[in-house]
């Protein structure tokens, strides 16, 4: 294992240039990743603050803390911010941006200027979103169902839809960049089936983004026209069709759930391999499962419309296709588990997140099967059961993956080690707090508590109290990393080039890497995760 410590006088991407301009106008993918890190952390905190207010309101059955209009704005802005401004960009734009060029042995992404532009497009979208928020917010739910959103809501629907529309362009720019980079800029010897699974996952995600996001853009444009000019595309009183909106919306938003989870699955593959010091079991099957999830994800949107009056036969087709998505998801879980077998397993914080992910994603995926079973979805659709399901996959899955990845690559990103003790405490708090918050929601959902309720019958209170209690633990769990990671930037111990003894090109360069990533152009001679051909010493000058 490497004991080489980076010499701080050495030029790296952090000290290559100083001053605010050198950051705001940087074309270095690593610096842009850090800009994104700051931005998504701000949005995550704002979204989290709204969540805290929602949970406080739900502590008692009466709607006594805020007015219903305010409550509706809270859950809508919580959803919009978390999905469009945190979950979708988080892993690709922060971790992916930083790590993808390093993993493929490139000096940068294919289009550094587009990369920087994508960040500013995202910022413009974010500012518009915040502007809408200050000017009254929006109360339609993140799903914007018509005709409520188009004809009835007098909140900032147009502004927020515009923010979503613009944010979409940022995603597309990043996706194009990733696709071209993967196709054109792999190091010599890095064949497709030698690529790390994180790269595959980002590649599959980018394809979904490219194909699905334009549909969202079109849908949002139609919504804006309907809301501001009342042209009536979705208004039955003018011959429009309100349910058409749901089809268009989910045609994007179902694939979007895979935009959120696939990158996390990529991270988990990296973590499981690194902390078992072993090749991911069934590598090719994990690759193909990502690709088939990306493909099948486009064919299942109608499972959100089982009770919307859609034909029962259409429902049946969507049901069986949704069931099929569960197979590649299950294949991944089994392969990760099998990777541990005969591994050399260590439990540093990133691995704790990975193991947590496996458990929580299993529950999230299985409850997806509950929902895809039509006869059962009739009962649980639009209840807290659905809320619990998607938080298990998005918070238990995506955010666990994000935090795991952030800790794993933190030494590379910052050049410093984070405090392992506090990180373990926070991983534990997140896991316990998460389950306490969301598990009771399965039960109260099956009891029949509808979602988006500001006040509810008293017999549901016990579960809501548990949820709120859990949320405070979870909140603390999220607060800690913000503190200690920031602290470690300055006071953390210096990180060696390869603190985990992992294989992968990113560990063969210094921590933090130089501006152009590698001192010598790397050449790949082995498959990914080949621990039996570990380079003796990192290729660091």
């Amino acid at each position: 294992m490497s004991t080489l410590i980076t010499d701080s006088s050495r030029s790296n991407y952090l000290n290559a240039a100083y001053g605010i301009k050198s950051w705001l106008l940087t074309k270095d993918h690593k610096r842009i990743a850090l800009l994104y890190l700051v931005a998504v952390s701000i949005f995550f905190s704002v979204g989290g603050l709204f969540a805290a207010l929602i949970r406080l309101e739900l502590l008692t059955p009466e709607g006594d803390m805020v007015q219903p209009d305010i409550y509706n704005r809270l859950f809508t802005m919580h959803g919009v911010i978390m999905i469009f401004f945190f979950l979708i960009p988080a892993i690709p734009a922060v971790l992916g941006n930083f790590i993808l060029p390093l993993m493929v042995g490139a000096k940068d992404l294919a289009f550094p200027r587009i990369n920087l532009a994508s960040f500013y497009v995202y910022v413009v979208a974010g500012i518009l979103g915040v502007w809408a928020l200050i000017n009254g917010g929006v109360d339609t739910g993140w799903t914007f169902y018509t005709p409520y959103s188009s004809m009835y809501s007098n909140t900032q629907v147009t502004l927020v839809a515009m923010a979503g529309f613009i944010a979409g362009f940022s995603s597309i720019m990043t996706a194009v960049n990733f696709i071209v980079t993967v196709h054109r800029m792999r190091a010599p010897g890095l064949t497709w089936f030698r690529m790390p699974l994180m790269v595959w996952a980002l590649y599959a995600t980018s394809i979904i983004i490219m194909l699905a996001t334009p549909v969202l853009a079109i849908t949002l444009v139609m919504l804006m026209l309907d809301h501001s000019l009342h042209i009536g595309i979705f208004d039955p009183a003018q011959g429009g069709d309100p349910v058409l909106f749901q089809h268009l919306f989910w045609f994007y938003s179902h694939p979007a759930v895979y935009i959120m989870i696939l990158p996390a699955m990529g991270v988990i593959s990296e973590l499981v391999a690194a902390f078992s010091r072993k090749k991911v079991f069934g590598y090719t099957f994990v690759v193909y499962s990502s690709l088939s999830i990306a493909f099948l994800g486009f064919l299942v949107w109608g499972h959100h419309l089982f009770v919307s009056g859609q034909s029962v036969y259409a429902g049946a087709v969507f049901s069986i296709l949704s069931m099929l998505v569960a197979i590649p998801s299950a294949v991944k879980v089994f392969n990760w588990t099998a990777t541990l077998f005969q591994g050399s397993v260590s439990y540093q914080t990133p691995m704790l997140y990975a193991l947590g992910f496996i458990g929580l994603f299993t529950i999230g995926g299985l409850t997806g099967v509950f929902l895809a079973t039509m006869g059962l979805d009739t009962h649980v659709h639009d209840t807290y059961f659905v809320v619990a399901h998607f938080h298990y996959v998005m918070v238990g899955g995506t955010i666990m993956g994000y935090l795991g990845g952030l800790h794993y690559w933190w030494p590379k990103i910052s050049g410093k080690l984070y405090p392992e003790f506090w990180a373990k405490i926070s991983a534990l708090l997140v896991f316990v707090g998460f389950n306490l918050t969301f598990f009771p929601q399965f039960i109260v959902g099956y009891l029949g508590m509808p979602r988006r309720y500001h006040a509810y019958p008293p017999e549901f209170q016990v579960f809501n109290v548990l949820s709120t209690a859990g949320a405070s633990v979870l909140g603390l769990g999220y607060l800690l990393p913000i503190i200690y990671l920031t602290w470690s930037m300055r006071y953390g111990k210096k990180a060696p080039a390869n603190p985990w003894g992992a294989v992968g090109l990113e560990w063969e360069t210094a921590s933090p890497p130089p501006t152009f990533n590698f001192d010598d152009d790397p050449v790949v001679e082995h498959e990914a995760y080949d621990y039996h051909h570990r380079p003796e010493e990192p290729r660091v000058a």
């Binding site: 590598y283 099957f285 919307s308 006869g375 979805d377």
Partner: protein
């Protein structure tokens, strides 16, 4: 705060048991797989924990057989679930033939129900036990969703389009009725109770309000006269508009060559936006009533028009000869 809390909702319809059976099966299945995976993870994590700093894992990297097995087993399980879920869903979606029709109108933020005899209620619905009931619903503004957790059924209630939800209650008592689709400020208050009564009690309850109730077909007939629909729609053919007798459930040809079945949705559109679907052989004379007739009154007109087409069994009982005549009518209509 109550200390003893429920883990399972009350089961009060013929559907509840079937939905709960799927649920329990899935809970057991999920518990099995979650424990299996968690067990395997914990076992491996402990058994293969790293013992020295430069230790590495084995060279094991996959097994085609295992991949096939762990794809095939979940596939088999989800296929079973698909068929099982579809079977229950089809049952939920198709009211039995003897179901009695109620109507519901959703609007921000209340439910307006009407019983078959014309009795009305707001946010509370009384129904008899042991009788299949189908609720034909429409929204006057945004999308709502009529949800009866104790019966395990729900259906979105959409503006401009009828949807139906049916159930047969098996337990007397009072159960929640919710709006499940977010519909604006007071969404969470848009609910009430469904009260299931023994059939005798239900009759008594109906009788209590009988003085004010007017049968919807009767109300529809009055409305039909009031709006002078009869000036164009006479008893027989030959008027400016087609006869509305014995048309329900039949197929009708439109001028553009399409054939459509006359159902509630078609009648609704024919009244509100007649220009969209013109009956073959007629001119687009009928004025549009969009925005002029409330959803309640459209329900009444439809109920009245439906009453002009007695179902075959009713008709056969009442007058076998007339039944034969109407069949002949149909034949001539087809040649038109």
């Amino acid at each position: 705060m109550p200390l003893d809390f429920p883990l399972f909702p009350e089961a009060a319809s013929t559907m509840a048991g079937q939905v709960d059976a799927i649920y329990l099966f899935l809970v057991a299945l999920s518990a099995f797989f979650s424990i299996l995976i968690a067990g395997a993870v914990v076992y491996c994590a402990v058994r293969y924990r790293r013992r020295s700093d430069d230790e590495i894992g084995s060279n094991l990297h996959g097994s085609l057989l295992l991949e096939i097995v762990w794809s095939a087993i979940p596939l088999a399980i989800v296929l079973v679930l698909f068929f099982w879920g579809a079977k229950v869903f089809f049952a939920q979606s198709r009211p039995p033939a003897d179901a009695i029709e109620y109507t519901a109108i959703g609007k921000q933020w209340m439910w307006k129900f009407q019983h078959p005899d014309g009795q009305r209620e707001i946010n509370t619905l009384h129904v008899p036990k042991g009788q299949p009931i189908v609720i034909k619903a429409i929204s006057q503004d945004v999308i709502h969703s009529l949800y009866f957790p104790a019966f395990r059924v729900k259906k979105d209630v959409i503006p401009g389009r009828y949807t139906t939800v049916w159930f047969e209650a098996t337990k007397t008592g009072s159960f929640h009725l919710f709006c499940a689709e977010f519909c604006g400020a007071e969404h969470s208050l848009m609910g009430g109770q469904v009260v299931v009564l023994e059939p005798e009690d239900y009759e008594r309850w109906l009788a209590g309000g009988a003085a004010t109730a007017q049968a919807p077909e009767e109300a529809g007939r009055q409305l039909f006269d009031q709006l002078a629909c009869g000036t164009c729609h006479g008893e027989g053919d030959g008027g400016r508009g087609p006869s509305l007798h014995d048309i329900y459930g039949e197929e009708v040809r439109l001028v553009d060559g399409r054939t459509v079945t006359i159902d509630d949705q078609y009648l609704r559109e024919s009244i509100l936006t007649p220009a969209e679907k013109i009956v073959d052989g007629y001119s687009p004379l009928m004025p549009t009533y969009q925005g002029q007739i409330s959803e309640e009154n459209v329900f009444k007109l439809i109920t009245y028009i439906k009453s002009l087409s007695p179902s075959p069994e009713d008709a056969a009982e009442a007058n076998p000869a007339e039944n034969a005549a109407s069949a002949a009518d149909e034949a001539t209509e087809e040649t038109l």
